[in-house]
Each structure stands twice: as C-alpha cells, then as structure tokens.
C-alpha cells in the first residue's frame, strides 16, 4: 500500500500494535528542558524507576535563561530552583546536559539540529510543542506533556494513535522579501489555529524544496500553531549537506548507509492524504498578525479587519476580544501600527540565517529612536557563528541589543518581557494574550519584517524601505 512520508516513519517505529489499543511507538531522541521535566523525574523517583536510555536523551536550559549576565546565578529564585532541579536530575539519572555557559547550550530545538542529533526518519519528542521544528529533516517530531515525558524517560516509548495526513503544497517561487515565516503564517491564517488537529502536515512543492534547512525549520516549527500533531518535509540533498560533518552525524560507512536510507524517505506517488492545502508562492507577501492567535494574520498591505463583517459568531467574538486586547481599531492599515519593541530570536527565527537576513537590512543604518530591538541568538553556537561573521557589530551599531542565547522574549519566563500595553513586532511563534509579558501586545513577523520595522518604528515590509529617507 502506498504511504506518506509520515506513515513510513511512524510504521518503522511501531514496537507493538494490538486491536483496540494505541500503538506503542519507539522514540529515537528525547530532548529535555527545565520547565516540563521536574515533575517527570519526581515521578520516576517515586516509583523507583530509572531512565531507560540516557544515551538517547539530551537536556539543556533555555526557557528560564536570562540573556544578560549569563554567567551569574539566575536572580529569580524560582527560575533558579527550576534550573537547579534539572541539573540535579541530569546528574542523578545520567543524562547529558548543556547548561548555561556550555558551548552546546541553547533553545532545545536549535541545538538538536546544530549538533546533528536530529536526523531524517527519526522519532523525536520533547515536552515542548515546538518540537515539530525537527520535522524539517524528515523526522516525526512532536510535543508532549509531562506525564508523557515521564513515560519516555522510563520506557523510551509512547502510546500513540495513528495521525491523519495533511499535505500543504506550495508551488512556485517566493517573491523577494517573502520568507518561510510568511508562508507558514499564511498557511495558519488559511486553515485556522487548530485547523490541522489530528493531522501530521507534510510540506511539499517546489517552493518548499527550494528552502534552506533553517527556513524549513521555521515552517515546521509553527505546525503546532495550525494545531497539527507534527509537520515534516522530505529529506533531500539540502538536508544531508546540512548534516554532514556535524558532531553527531554518522561518519564513514555509516554516513553512506544512512544517506541511502534517507533517500527512501519520500511519500509514495499514490499515497493518499486526508486533506490538502495548496498555496501559490508567487502570490504571497509579507504577513503579519493583528490578533491574539497565530491564525489572526493578514498580508502587511491589508488593514485591521472589522469584526462586524465576520459571519461566524465564534470568529467575530474572538476578533472583538483580540482587537480590544491589542488596542487596535478596525480599518487601520497594518503599516500604520507603531511598535515599541522588536524581538528577533526564538526557536522559530533564532538561527544564523535569520540573523544574517536581518543584519543585511540593518547594515550601516540606525533603528528608529523610539524603538528598542533585542537580537537573541537561538544557541551559543549561533551566537559564536554570528560574532565570527561580525553580525553582532552590525546589530549594535544599528542601535539594537545583542544578547546571550535562550528563549528570551518568546515567553514570559525570564527577565526579557514586554510591559503592560507595550507593543512588539516579534519573530517568535505566539501572539497569545500576555505571552511576551502581562498585557504585552504581539505582532508576529518574519526576520526581514522585524528588521524593517525596527528601522521605521512601524510595521514595515523590507520592500517599503526603498521609500524611506536614509
């Protein structure tokens, strides 16, 4: 029977299948961070259990990490205790940890690919919904809760039900200044914030094949914002070029065998998807969100929508609540929305390519005098590479702040937060109420829109900059 890529990966990991029960799926890599793991380790201790495969488990510190003064102890005692709990647990259960100050530290979804631990055809889980990021390599990767973290630690498996299959096909060439972030924001706006519930999304088509690994990770990362269980992209030459030579990538004869296997990881021609969404790359423009969920987005040339024009009652009520929270008036052109803060970073857009894209727009210029810009590399590795390329100086000379690696302003768990009423253009993944700090107002954007917005102080597409006086 013809199969999709996701079905092939799923089937290759079924340990046990029985009528009327979920399948038991083997997990090739378990990534762990400080927030969703302490209760799982406590559960192991209470039951007298061990970690079955510490060699398939990797931990790091990211959510609570301050991005300034990173070598001092964390000032917030509650954050510090959570990070210290991870250190204690990693030591007790024999798990490798990349702590603050370590060369391998960073956002969990940035370091997995960076180290070459993320490879095609694997199953990867983490107590974090953005685990879908790793699907960019053709892995089946998904977020889990703390009870499931405990289950994977104890057994290296998870009970799972077979997901449905959705294809998102993007054909053609993306216009200049339009990026992976715009593609995925457009997809989410099309199908809704839970529109892919129960499905794994496979992204395919010529526009997807043309993307770099960093861009593919941006797209897969936000699969969860469309409600998908996971999102993935078939591995190809771009994938193996990215992996070759990384610390945990196969070497020698193993490399050849692995690549030969990776070539089989494609959706069969006659495979059937339960749903399909088709986008024309050439019609896409920079996309920004206006509301309080990632599905409430529009092309930057549009205006704030009018809830009164919405026919679905739930949609209208949600839009009214969103506009009240965001302090926006229907009909306002999105380009006229002024922002206080620009955040460039996160597991969505904190990779080297994202920093290069933004730096190119900022080189030799100054950001708007009333706007602050935080640039936060996704990992220490990204930070060091950016500094080697001189990108840190481009940012600081433009008036932006160059920070240490971590989740930073993507979520309010560390000192980088919006103040009540403060408005941001953010390259992160969630514009939920209070996500970036209590009362903060978030517009999700791509790295190039973030940089252009920092220069003007208003939501701006890179193509608009030609009209701006130097």
């Amino acid at each position: 029977m013809p199969k999709t890529l996701a079905e092939k990966v799923y089937d290759a990991h079924v340990v046990r299948s029985a009528e009327g029960e979920p399948d038991l799926l083997y997990i090739d890599l378990h990534l762990v961070h400080e927030v969703t793991s302490p209760q799982a380790f406590d559960g192991l201790r209470a039951a007298g259990r061990t970690v079955r495969r510490p060699d398939l488990t990797m931990a790091t510190e990211d959510h609570n990490v301050p991005t300034l003064d990173i070598l001092s102890p964390i000032a917030d005692p509650v954050s510090r205790a959570q990070v210290e709990a991870l250190r204690t647990n990693a030591a007790e259960f024999g798990i490798r940890l990349a702590p603050m100050g370590d060369r391998d530290q960073g956002i969990v979804h940035v370091i997995g690919p960076q180290l070459g631990l993320t490879q095609p055809g694997m199953t990867i889980v983490c107590g974090d919904s953005h685990t879908s990021t790793h699907g960019a390599f053709g892995a089946l990767a998904f977020g889990i809760g703390t009870s499931e973290v405990e289950h994977v630690l104890a057994t290296q498996t998870l009970p799972q039900y077979r997901p449905k299959q959705m294809a998102v096909t993007v054909e053609g060439r993306l216009p200049e200044g339009v990026s992976a972030k715009d593609v995925i924001l457009a997809v989410i706006a099309r199908i809704g914030t839970n529109g892919a519930a129960g499905h794994v999304i496979e992204y395919r088509g010529s526009a997807i094949e043309a993307l770099s690994m960093e861009a593919r990770m941006t797209i897969c990362n936000m699969s969860i914002e469309a409600g998908a269980r996971a999102g993935l992209i078939a591995p190809d030459q771009t994938t193996s070029d990215f992996l070759q030579g990384r610390p945990h990538a196969p070497q020698g004869a193993d490399w050849d065998a692995a690549v030969a296997h990776w070539r089989t990881l494609r959706t069969d021609e006659d495979a059937v998807f339960d749903a399909e969404v088709v986008l024309d790359a050439a019609e896409l423009t920079p996309f920004v969100t206006w509301g309080t969920n990632p599905g409430q987005g529009l092309p930057i040339g549009e205006s704030v929508p009018d809830p009164a024009a919405m026919t679905d009652e739930n949609e209208r009520r949600a839009a009214e609540q969103a506009l009240a929270y965001m302090g926006l008036t229907p009909g306002t052109p999105l380009r006229e929305i002024g922002v206080d803060t620009v955040f460039l970073g996160s597991c969505t857009n904190g990779r080297i390519e994202d920093l290069r894209t933004a730096a190119e727009l900022l080189r030799g210029k100054r950001i708007d005098g009333n706007t602050r810009m935080l640039v936060v590399p996704g990992s220490v590795g990204v930070k060091l590479q950016a500094e080697a390329e001189g990108l840190d100086r481009v940012f600081t000379e433009a008036g932006a702040e160059w920070r240490g690696a971590g989740c930073s302003m993507c979520l309010g768990m560390n000192p980088d937060q919006l103040q009540p009423g403060e408005r941001s253009a953010s390259t992160s993944n969630r514009n939920f109420q209070g996500r970036q700090g209590k009362g903060g107002r978030t517009h999700l954007v791509s790295p190039s829109v973030a940089a252009a917005t920092a220069l003007t102080g208003k939501l701006t597409a890179p193509a608009d900059l030609a009209d701006v006086a130097p």
């Binding site: 340990v15 029960e21 038991l24 083997y26 090739d28 927030v35 969703t36 209760q39 406590d42 039951a47 079955r52 510490p54 060699d55 959510h63 609570n64 509650v78 205790a81 959570q82 709990a85 490798r96 631990l117 490879q119 694997m122 107590g127 974090d128 919904s129 977020g143 889990i144 809760g145 009870s147 289950h151 104890a154 057994t155 290296q156 809704g192 914030t193 839970n194 519930a197 969860i224 409600g227 610390p247 945990h248 193993d254 065998a257 692995a258 296997h261 739930n314 949609e315 009520r317 949600a318 609540q321 979520l411 309010g412 768990m413 969630r430 939920f432 109420q433 209070g434 996500r435 209590k438």
Partner: protein, 199 residues
C-alpha cells in the same frame, strides 16, 4: 491518576473560542517544580483584568464542569494547564473541539475532556446561564452528559475510557511489554545518533 467514573456538578459557560494554554495558566507559573498548587494561576489574567469574567461571577465560583468554545487548549504543551484546571476544582471540560496535546494530557492527568457538537454546547451554555445551579452529570460509564431533562451521548475510545475508569498509569501498562521494546531495539539502525558520550 485519580479514576473517573461519573461526576455531577454545576457548569461554568466560557464563551470563548481557541482558548490557548497560556490563558489557562501563564508561563510565569510554570517555573514551579511541583505537580499541584496551580489554582492561583488558572485563567489568572482574565480573572484579574475582566470583572465580568465567568469565573469571577459568584454563581459560577464553585463550578466543576467547564463548558468552552471550540478549539480549547491550543498552543503550548504544558500539562500544567490540566493540573491548574483540576486544582481549580474542575473535573470535566466540554468543547466541540480540543487541541491534540491538551486532550492527550488530560487523559494522563484524570481531567475528562468531552467533545460535544457545538449545538449541544450552545444548549448547555444557555442552560447554565438561565440557571447557574443546573446540575450537570457526566457519566463516563454510560458516555452521557445529562442536565434537566436533557441527555446527550458523547464518544470516547474504549481504551482511554478503560484507563480513566480504572485510573491506570501508562508507564505500568507499557512495562508489561518490555520484551517487545527490547526486540525492537535490537533491530535499530546502527548509525542512529546517541547523545552520550558527547562528541
């Protein structure tokens, strides 16, 4: 996990769609390393900022069944969202559609998530608003939601129902199949990466 058989209580009508887990419990409460005591973070921003928020209304303060709009529990995978609802006194959440991870987490923590068609949710909202003392019974044995003269069926897969009725721990269930896990491990590709030792 606390078993769930049947539950009777009053219902809180939460007329919002796409309630994300950041609203159920914001990130700052996730710094704690315990598994209980999250009731102070439950819907805290809405409770603080919106005087007429449903859970600020005294007639719904003791509700144990939350009736929400579609797409409840989107966003972050934090199981703390389920824990906060349980700690806040809820045993059941009813919606026409849940986000996958939230629904999955709920089955691991003993919070029952019930999917009903939006028309049934609308009727339950109307009943709880007309009379906040309306007793709602959610019977997992019979797979029904009942209030007043109304009884509506709901679907739940047999395996999840059995686990919830018995309050079973998944790890214990999986440990019965360790021989299958070992057999699987023997056939894994040799080139697959190991995090240890560091290279």
């Amino acid at each position: 996990m606390q078993p769930f058989t049947t539950h009777t209580g009053t219902a809180a009508p939460l007329r919002r769609s796409a309630v994300d887990t950041d609203q159920i419990i914001p990130a700052e409460y996730l710094k704690r390393i315990t598994r209980t005591g999250f009731e102070d973070g439950l819907f805290v921003a809405w409770r603080r900022n919106e005087p007429d928020f449903v859970l600020n209304q005294p007639q719904y303060a003791d509700a144990t069944v939350l009736v929400a709009g579609p797409d409840f529990g989107t966003g972050s995978s934090r199981e703390h969202a389920c824990w906060a609802l349980l700690d806040g006194g809820f045993r059941v959440v009813i919606s026409s559609r849940f986000a996958d991870i939230f629904k999955n987490n709920s089955t691991k923590s003993g919070l029952l998530t019930v999917v009903l068609p939006q028309a049934d949710v609308d009727a339950l909202w109307a009943a709880a608003e007309a009379d906040p003392t309306t007793q709602v019974t959610v019977d997992l044995q019979a797979r029904t939601v009942s209030y007043g003269a109304t009884t509506v069926p709901f679907e739940v897969d047999e395996y999840t129902r059995w686990r919830l009725l018995e309050g079973l721990d998944d790890v214990g269930l999986t440990e019965r199949h360790l021989a299958d896990v070992e057999a699987y491990e023997a056939g894994r590709h040799p080139w697959l990466p190991k995090a240890l030792p560091a290279r």
